[in-house]
Structure formats: C-alpha cells, structure tokens
C-alpha cells in the first residue's frame, strides 16, 4: 500500500483514540477529586451513611442511592409495559400508514429536551399528584412518571428493531402449526427477541439513572430517606446538579465522590447487561 493510502487510516485512528482519551480523562479527574474524601470518610460510611450535611462534615449518600434506584425502578415498571405494547403493535398489527405516522412521533419524543419534560412535570404532573393522591406532589412517583415517558423512545425503537430482525420462518412456522397471531407473538416472537428487549430495558435504565435536569425539577430533592412513593427524594445525579453551584473544598470533593458511586453503578449495570446478552446468545 502506498504511503498516501495509509494516512487516512492513521488519522482516523488518532481521532478515535482521542474520543477514548476523553473518557479516560474524565474518569481520572473524577477519581482524583473524589477518592481523597471517600478515603477520609470511609467507603462504608460514605455509601451507607444516612446523613448528608456538608456544612457539618456529614457525607452519607445512602438515601440518594435509594432515591436513584427507586425512581429508576418506578420508571421501568411504568414505562416497559407501555413501550413493549407499542413495539408489538408497530411490528405486528399496525398498517403501514399508521406505522409511518407513529414512528416519527416517537422519535420526536426522544428529541424533546429534558428541561421541557421537567417543566411539564412540574406544572402538570406534580399538582395532579398533590391534589388527587396526596403529599407535596414533588415525589418519587412524579419522577418515575416523567422518566417513564423519557425512556419510551429508547425501549420502543430497540424492541421494535429486534422484533423486526426475527427471521420470517419463525412467523410462518407458527402460523403453519395453526397458532393464532397472539399465540405467535407471545409464544414465539417475544421469547425469540428477548435478548434485544432486555438490552432495550437496560439502556432505558441507563438513561433513567443518569437523567438530571428533569428529575431536579419534580423530585423535591429532600435529603431524608423516602418512606413512600409520595415522598420527595434525591438521586445521585440531582445531588451533584443542585449543589455544585456554591460547593467548595470538601463539599466539592464529596460531589465528585457522588459521581464515582454513580459511575460504578452504571458500570455494574452495563456489565450485567453485557453478561445477560452474551448468555442469551450462547443459549441459541
């Protein structure tokens, strides 16, 4: 190969690595800033501490870990059934004209900025919960509802793709055996596409656990441990988002340390997803 032929390849390699180096830089920076505080407070006290009051030197983030997990779980419980029904409808039932109208609409849902979701939640969902269900309205329930809507596009489009990718003989075989359309869907198609659907759910969880702006606006951000889904709560992301403006010294380090815990949680989530996907593939 001539020298001039090699240049584009090399250049692209360098640029590809610069994207990777951004990841390394960010990770190293977060760890350098956050680890000294975790070391001083102690890993156990930091993660399982119940009290967060940086001005008094209390740095416990357990209520926030619970907050993050509960809004994410809530979003999955509310969002996944709707998303799955939508994906099944789009691939198996909808005529082409309806499909061509719904699909861009769902993509549009993904394009709405999170601050708009948060504002809508604050003005519409929060008063609804306060007036008809109870509590202050700013709550885990409000956060779960907003996040459930926000993760719909991710879950719908990936599930739809994995349903469409199934080989035609699956459907044809099921029909040939006399299965009805519904029997085909829940007996053959859904089990066959489950690895893709699982990936969709986990990507949705990743989106939900990392979302900040919309959640700050509807969650209430109280640092106490929530005792019901109508209680306000604080997530790991909103802890950083709401306090970063004036944080200095130890307080700032504690926010970076919160970032470390968030990073580790997301890494665990991704590893579990990878592992699950690989096992499903091996089974086939």
């Amino acid at each position: 190969m001539r020298f001039s032929e090699k240049i584009p390849g090399r250049v692209l390699l360098v640029i590809a690595f610069s994207a990777l180096s951004a990841l390394v830089l960010i990770t190293v920076f977060i760890f350098v800033e956050g680890v000294p505080l975790i070391a001083r407070v102690g890993v156990f006290n930091f993660i399982f501490g119940m009290k967060w009051a940086p001005s008094q030197g209390a740095f416990g983030i357990f209520p926030m870990i619970v907050g993050s997990l509960s809004v994410t779980l809530g979003a999955i419980i509310l969002g996944v059934p709707i998303a799955l029904c939508c994906a099944i409808f789009l691939t198996e039932f909808a005529p082409a004209t309806v499909r061509n109208a719904i699909r861009p609409a769902i993509q549009l849902l993904a394009g709405i900025p999170s601050v708009v979701y948060g504002f809508w939640g604050l003005i519409f969902v929060v008063p609804l919960i306060r007036n008809y269900i109870g509590g202050p309205g700013l709550s885990i329930l409000a956060g779960s509802i907003i996040l459930a809507i926000m993760i719909l596009p991710t879950i719908i489009s990936i599930s739809e793709v994995s349903l469409l990718a199934l080989p035609p003989p699956y459907r044809e075989g099921a029909f040939a055996l006399g299965a009805t359309q519904w029997q085909t869907i829940h007996g053959v198609l859904l089990p066959a596409a489950r690895s893709g659907i699982l990936a969709a759910v986990i990507l949705g969880m990743g989106r939900a656990i990392g979302e900040t702006m919309a959640v700050i606006m509807v969650l209430g951000n109280a640092v106490a441990m929530p005792s019901s889904i109508l209680d306000p709560a604080r997530t790991l992301t909103t802890n950083i988002g709401i306090e970063m403006a004036y944080a200095a010294g130890e307080h700032r380090q504690a926010l970076f340390a919160t970032g470390i815990v968030l990073l580790v949680m997301i890494m665990i989530l991704n590893s579990v997803a990878q592992y699950a996907l690989r096992r499903r593939q091996d089974e086939r």
């Binding site: 951000n221 306090e243 944080a247």
Partner: protein
Amino acid sequence: MTPGPRKSRTHGTLALTILTLPVIVTVSMLSACDRLPEANIVLAGSTSVQPFAEILAEEYMTLYPDISIDIEGGGSAAGILAVQSGTADVGMSSRTLKGDETKLWWVEIAKDGLAVVVHPDNPVRNLTLDQVRDIYTAIISDWSQIGGAKSEIHIFTREEGSGTRSAFESLVMGKVEITPRAMVQDSNGAVRQLVSDDAAAIGFISLGLVNDQVKAIALGSVAATRENVANGTYTLTRPFLFVARNEPTGSTRQFIDFTLSAEGREILNEEGLVTTVEGRP
C-alpha cells in the same frame, strides 16, 4: 492496487479537513485568551452580593471603558481573607465584620431582607421567629397547630452552600438544623414558584423577589416590607458590605463612590435590595 485519481483526491481532502480542524480550534482558543482584558479592580467574596456587584460593575464599565472589574465568589469569609492578604481590592460580605475583621475599612452598600413566604390563600399571616424555627425543625408539622387549615406543612429550603440558606440558618435556626425532610430547590425563583402552587407550602426567599404569587409572613407582627427593613424593625435582614484593607483610593474609590451614588443606589433598589448609607468610617 492502483486507486483512480478521483478516489485518492477525496481521501486527501478528507484527511486535510480532519487535520486542519484541531489547528483551527487551537488557534481560536488562543486568540480568545488574548482578548481577555487585564483586571484593574478585583472583587471577591459573598456569592449573595456577587450578582449585584456584577450589575454595578457592568454599568460602571460602560461609563469608564478603560477600567475593568474582575469579580469572584468564594463566600464572605474568603472575600475578607482575600482583602486582608491583598489578593483582592474589595471584599464582598453578606454579614457584619467580627473580631479582627473590624479593623478593616468597610461600607454597607445595602440591606437584603429575607421573607418567609406562604401561599396567598393560607390564613396564617403572622408567626414568631420561634414558630418559624419549629416549622423548619419539624416540631410543628401541621398548619392547624398555628392557626391554619388542617394540612401537613410542606417545607422548602435552599441547597447547602447557598447564601440565602446560610443567612436563614444564622438568623432563624441558630444552632439547630433544618429537617432533612425539607424539600430543596436551587433558586429563589424555584422556591417562589412551588410555594405559589401549593397551599400547604412554606419557603424563604429574598424580600426583593416577593410578588403577588406568594404572601410574605409578618414576623412577630412586623410586616416584611422595605420600610421595615430600612428602619430596622424587621429583623430577618443581612447587610451587604464592601470591605477594603485601607481606605480605598483611585479607581477602587471611584467604583465604591459609584455604588453609593444616587445612580448606584437606584440600580440596587431596582434589583430588590434596600439601600441605606451606613458605616463609611
């Protein structure tokens, strides 16, 4: 394999574009650095005073374009320390000076009132400072305990590190803590919006930001008004000070004089502060 002339040209153009991109970015960043003006007056300190100082500085710099003002936050204590060590010309403080600090030159540019606000429909109009504290420690948890309708109190506070929060803590809470169940918002505007929306809510915001969406509670029968802040009967106030190591001279003096002039006071009043001319020894 011999590539056609057209294909290699496309590759060359692509590579060229990719290679020049970082150069353009670097050059534009460097030239941006060049354009940063040299600071003539350095202000540092309270993040509560900072936004007002920024507005004053902006106005001042349009009047005197050859002087530039650099403003940093960091908190009252950091600002006073910066003045003592000489790294800042003017320190911004949102509390009175104490101990050694009283040897410094200072002037009060304005007073800021804190208003305890509730929903306009809330029948409660008057509370004592002790009752406000008991609400914020969750000793009083229902409006019916203090003359309101039977309903759980929804408490709103500001985030850790906020100047408004630390003023509230030192003026109202004293040594006790705000309950962790209090909901936290990161701006005066957010607290006001939520209180205006919820008949059972209570919050605190800068007096200048009270509007007809919320109702400011009277404290010990003294209404939260600008007049009562100015005459000293309303106690939930804090002073905004400019501090200097020695009596300022030159452009620093000129900037402080501008702040205290009728024009400067008008700016501060418009932004919701209550201007007084005090101190200035």
